[in-house]
Structures are given as structure tokens and as C-alpha cells.
Symmetry: C2
Subunit: 414 residues, 2 copies
């Protein structure tokens, strides 16, 4: 069995095709109500959030136990246990639990050696945190396009773009326009669907870029037999309230590199030098350690992760069934050789669709069904408008055609 077959066998699941159907622009005219009715047949009437957590396991018991222990802050057994459960599940040699995904990205960029004034390549399609974290490290996000196949960073487009705008100078990749060093690239697994990491790592090696894998949305997603976040040297997870599992606020850094993990943990805990009573700190650190009370929630959520992932696949199939007669839309499935956690269920409208993405969104919101578009491409977001950017036609096209559907795990069994 190859790596991916092993993953499928171990998880006892079957892969899902990339698209639920071939879209057909010649298909019958669409009406907005048929689309809304299909969504409603899965999400139910009104009040369904986009991605609501379920606390059906030991959450209450572990929170109470955490209080009983007296350890609720940045030291405690639940933090250690949460890290250990994440390591077991993902196969990471080292896990560092931190306050949230944004701070995990920031800390990782610092630990990788990204310096103030450098540029970092970021996909135009991502939550703003990916670009903000670059700015928090004093660096400048430089946006690149995504792929129609993966919806994540397009390594081929990056290669062509860098060849045109950058030059090697004194061992650094330099942006000819800005004169700044481009030092790293941050691929992101959009909505939980794995990006082409093989391509990203190749282009990173060819151009001398550090790789930070933003797996904030992809706990439970695999490329072959490797969990997302572990293909590059360093990967980041998020446990925000809308994620596959939640710790209230939280994030984690995954790596096989012991030295890097040690430095990250050190930086996350104010870089305090070991001493029985003196407060010395050997570099400028952060207060980014996950509190024990949040980790207690995480340990309980991890126990339910396999069930949550199974239900997200079930929910996907319910949407496929609901949309089976509409040939102007397709549900986003899995790229060959990858497994998605289906964090957010996504509907793609045909490029010649008679109804617009906004028609669907406005219509659904009017019926209290929480849907949303992809993120506004980051190179068009006010906060980052002045940052350098490659042309991003694919990002813009996806932004105009994707609708994220209600994806709460409880909908799978409704």
C-alpha cells in the first residue's frame, strides 16, 4: 500500500471526487429559490450558524477537573496532554500549544528567522490573520495567486511570478521593485482542502524560501499519509470557536524539528531562562502559551475528533444529494491523493451562472441561514492594499463564485 492508501485504510474512509458533478453551462435556467431550498433541506430553517461547536463529551468534566487542580493558567497537565493528543493524532514529533492561530503564525515566522523589513509570500485567499501575522513580525506580506485545483497557493504561478519580479543577490531573493528580501512563503490549506505542498516545497527550494504551513483550517486533512502542517518544516493549527475542534481561543505549532520546537516553546513563555527563583529572560519573548483551562476543553474535543471528521464527510454527501439536480453548481470535494476535513462546505457557482454569489448569500441571510463568501482577496483588503501583489485572477474568480454553506457538525445527523 502506498502512503495515501495507508491513510485511507487507517481512517476507514473513502476518498471523495474533486467535484460532486461536472457543471454544465448549457443546463436549464437556475432560480435562486431552488438553490436556497437545497441549502435549507440540509441546514434546516433558520438559526443554523456557519460552524457551531458541539460539546457532547467530557468538556464539562475536564473543565471542572481543571478548576479542582488549581492550575488554570499557562502551566498545567491539560496543556501537556493536549499537546500529546495532537502529536498522536497528527504524527508530529513536537507540538506547542499557544493562545491562537494568529499568534502561532507570528511566533513561527519569528522562529524561522523572518526579519523586519523582509517580504513573505501569502496567498491572496486566506483569513486576514495570515497576512497580519507577517506584519506582526515586522515583515511585509506579498500576495500571490491561488490555484483553480486546490484553491490554495499556486506554486506554478509563484514560480513564473518570482522569475519575473525577483533576482538572487548575495544569497537572498530580492524583489526588484521594492529592493526587499523575499524570505518565506506561507501556503494555506483553504477551507481544509490541502494545497499542493510538493509544488510549494519545490518552488521554495529553487528560490531559497522558508516554508510555514498555515494549517489553521485543516486539522484532520492529509496529503498522502502526512497530516497537513507537517509537510513543511513547521505548521500551524487553530482552535478558534468556528474550527473543527475548539479551545475557545487557541492554536498549536507542529514540527518534527526538536530544536525549533524548543525555541518556539521558549519564546511563547517569555523566553525565561531556567532558574529556581530568578527572573532572567534570554531574548524578547511573548505571552503566547495556551492556558490550561483552554487546553482542558481541547483534550475533551480531541476525543471527539474522529466522529466530527466522519460527520463532516456525511454532511458533504447530504449537500451533494441536495444539489444533485442543479447542474449550474457543484460541491467542492477532494483532490486526488488528499483527504480534506471539509471544515467549511463550499458550493461553486458555474462561471455563467444566472444567479450571482451575492444573490445566494443575500437570499440565504434573509432566511436566517448563515452562509458567507470566501474571504475578500487580501490584496484588495484595506489593511493590506498597499502591500505588493502578483496578479490574482483565480483568487478574484473564486471569490466571486464560492458560497460557504452551514457546516456545523450537528447538521450531519439532522
Amino acid at each position: 500500500m502506498n502512503g495515501f492508501a495507508t491513510t485511507l485504510a487507517a481512517l476507514a474512509i473513502n476518498p471523495i471526487p474533486m467535484w460532486s458533478k461536472q457543471m454544465d453551462p448549457r443546463a436549464d435556467a437556475q432560480d435562486i429559490e431552488s438553490i436556497l431550498s437545497a441549502i435549507r433541506s440540509v441546514s434546516g430553517d433558520g438559526t443554523a450558524g456557519l460552524h457551531e461547536p458541539v460539546f457532547a463529551g467530557n468538556e464539562r468534566a475536564y473543565l471542572v477537573d481543571c478548576l479542582d487542580s488549581g492550575f488554570v493558567s499557562s502551566v498545567g497537565e491539560y496543556v501537556t496532554q493536549f499537546e500529546s493528543e495532537l502529536a498522536k493524532f497528527t504524527g508530529a514529533s513536537h507540538v506547542v500549544a499557544v493562545t491562537n492561530g494568529t499568534n502561532a503564525l507570528h511566533l513561527s515566522l519569528v522562529a524561522l528567522g523572518v526579519k523586519p523589513g523582509q517580504e513573505v509570500l501569502v496567498p491572496a485567499i486566506s483569513f486576514v490573520a495570515t497576512a497580519n501575522a507577517v506584519a506582526h513580525a515586522g515583515a511585509v506580506p506579498h500576495f500571490v495567486d491561488v490555484s483553480t485545483e486546490t484553491w490554495g497557493l499556486d506554486p506554478q504561478a509563484v514560480r513564473t511570478y518570482l522569475s519575473a519580479i525577483a533576482v538572487q543577490r548575495d544569497g537572498n531573493l530580492v524583489n526588484r521593485e521594492t529592493g526587499r528580501t523575499i524570505s518565506a512563503i506561507v501556503p494555506m490549506h483553504t477551507l481544509g482542502h490541502p494545497v499542493d505542498m510538493t509544488g510549494v516545497i519545490e518552488v521554495a527550494q529553487d528560490f531559497g524560501l522558508k516554508v510555514l504551513e498555515d494549517a489553521a483550517e485543516s486539522l484532520g486533512s492529509y496529503i498522502g499519509d502526512i497530516h497537513t502542517g507537517l509537510v513543511g518544516r513547521l505548521g500551524v493549527l487553530s482552535f478558534n470557536g468556528n474550527k473543527t475542534i475548539t479551545t475557545g481561543g487557541g492554536g498549536a505549532i507542529l514540527t518534527h524539528d526538536a530544536e525549533l520546537a524548543h525555541r518556539i516553546k521558549h519564546l511563547s513563555t517569555t523566553a525565561k531562562s531556567p532558574h529556581r527563583f530568578e527572573f532572567d529572560h534570554d531574548e524578547i519573548g511573548y505571552n503566547y502559551r495556551m492556558p490550561n483551562i483552554n487546553a482542558a476543553l481541547g483534550v475533551a474535543q480531541m476525543e471527539q475528533l474522529p466522529g466530527i471528521l466522519a460527520n463532516q464527510r456525511k454532511l458533504y454527501r447530504k449537500y451533494v444529494q441536495a444539489f444533485r439536480t442543479d447542474h449550474r453548481v457543484s460541491m467542492r470535494g477532494e483532490q486526488a491523493g488528499t483527504l480534506s476535513n471539509f471544515w467549511l462546505q463550499a458550493l461553486l457557482l458555474d462561471s455563467q451562472s444566472q444567479v450571482s454569489r451575492n444573490d445566494v448569500i443575500e437570499g440565504a441571510l434573509a432566511q436566517n441561514i448563515t452562509v458567507r463568501p470566501l474571504w475578500k482577496p487580501l490584496n484588495t483588503v484595506a489593511a493590506h492594499y498597499s502591500s505588493p501583489s502578483a496578479p490574482t485572477p483565480v483568487a478574484q474568480d473564486l471569490y466571486e463564485r464560492v458560497v460557504c454553506l452551514p457546516s456545523s457538525v450537528s447538521l450531519a445527523s439532522k
Copy 2:
């Protein structure tokens, strides 16, 4: 009644003198065991932490209720309620709850307009977070000495120092040595004891400095009838596990300035522009909002705050009683016109004490009694060694003579 008398009457408490006794260098020889035995008579034998929280109220109920609500992350009613309880208690017009005190300081410096490359005056005696937050804002901490009276920043020493090393140039206060603008000052209420804010604000006005009040340790401490953190334009609290009340990890920003509070809340929640479904962000924001699950713990802790403060005063009196016969030491009390929360009980050794601070600390630790020194003066900490600094003889002297004693609130009733 003047302001302070009002505070005392409202809280139904009496002020405590600055020192439990006049120290007498001619007093009888000390022996280390008599000091340790006095500590032990209050802290009990072994395993007493330095400052352990007590969860004797509605903590369990509110955590379970928070899970039941489904809102555990950065939106939820407990966050709003926690802010409202803090506002009621401190008298702040606006409160923004965030992930921790360090991030609260960072965000406040950004909101006050401290710019990368500027210098910020920080007392040499503080937890490293005060200086780190300055660095996180891209600025440079510049250390100044503390006062023998308050143990906090010494405004008179700052005035003399600035007159010597800085010059007004184009409306900015410029450090003549480094050429950098000195833009702000961050007084900190050491161990909960209020700093001389009147003096700090005068020197800040005279030299054109922004003031950020680090009240991380002083929830429940007052200057006259004003709660610490509200004398300047902006103040910061911390709810770390070792603080007067805890939210696991957490912090808050207090202000009477509506516009500033609005901007800080906006920055803490990724600076998202209001829209029903689009993700636009009008500046580079942060993921610093306090999660609802942590706020649920905070609301329960706030209910117990008056009792905790009363017990810390009771604990102080137990230590005074324990040390009554040793005239080479004194317990730190209250400056006239201020109220302290007595966050950490502090013993000062006479300058001619036969036993050293390290004798006491090593001796206590050997008996499993958790004591600690003041923080290593920040201008001698490796992470900040290269930052500019005024001479800090008082910081160094206090560092060599202060021992922080077990201060868990449960010790008051043992």
C-alpha cells in the same frame, strides 16, 4: 470627606502604615531560622504556592453554562458581562477584555500612537512583559529608576534624568545619545502598591510623554478615590493564574476615553469593518480578544473580589504579627492616601541585615515554601541588556533586599 476617605468608607477598610515597624540596624543578631519560622507560621509547612487562585464561587456553574450556550470563543455574553463587572468595580467608563496583560500593553501602546523606533520609559523593576510589550510595538524600552517610597517609577528621578539626556526638537523629546524620540512612559504599580501617578503625570506633561498605566498587578488598588489604571488616559489589568483574580489567561484595558476604547476593541478583533458577510479589515489588527470561556471564569471570580481583597489585608496582618519581634525586617504596607491590593506580600530586609535575601530564599525553597525575589532589574536582564537605561541604584537595592512571601488568599483563613 475627601476622595480617599470616600474610598475607605465605601470599602469599609482602614489604611495600613507604610512599614510594619521602624527597622533598627542596631537590633539583635538575626538568624535565618527565625525568619523562616515566621514565614512558616503563616504559610504552613510546604507546598504553599506563591499565589494560588481559589475557585469557591460560581466558577464551575458559569463554565458549564458557557459550554451550554455554544459560545466559547471571542464573542459571547460572558465577555460583555466581565467587562461590565470590571467597569462597575473600577469606575472605568470603558473596558476591553483581551487575551492577557502583555497583549493589553502592546495594544495600548499601538493605540496611543507609539511608533516603531521610538523609545518608551519603563521602570527597571517590573515583570519583563512591560518591556517586551514595548518591543512588540517595535519600540525600544528605556529603563528608569524606581522610588524607595512606592517601589514604582520615580518621577523626580525621571525628571532629573530627562533634563540631562534628552532635548526637545521639532515638538519631540529626543534622546541625545540615540537620536530616537522618547514618546511614552509606562508607570507600573509594583506588587499592587500604587506608584506616584501625580508625579508621573506632571513629568509626562512637562516633557510631552504619553502615559500608559501598567496596573497588571493592582486590581483593587486605589490612589485617593481613583482605581489604579484610571489616573492616566489608559490602564492595563492582568488576570494571569497568579493574579488577584484569574481568567486562566487574560487582561483588560481601562479608560474613560470612548474613542480610544472603540479603537482598541476594533484592533483586538482583527480590525474587521462592519458588514453582514464580507471580510474587510481597515487596518492591521490583532487576535487579542478574550474568549468567552475565560470571561466566564472571570465573572465568577469578580463576585469574590471583595472577599479576596479583605483576605489579602488579613494575610498582611498575619505576617506583621509573625515578624513582630525581628527588627531587621519590615513588611511593606501602604503609602498614605493609597490603598493596596497586597497582591504579593513583601518583606524588606534591613540594609545591614546579617542574612541575605538569597539566604532567605534558598532556605525557604529548601523547606518547600515558595518565595521569590523581586524581578531582576530589567536593565540587567539579557533580553533587554542592550536597551538604554538611567542609573538605577534604588531598583538594584530593592532587588537585593525584598523577599516576596506566599500570598495565596487561602492562607488568610488558615
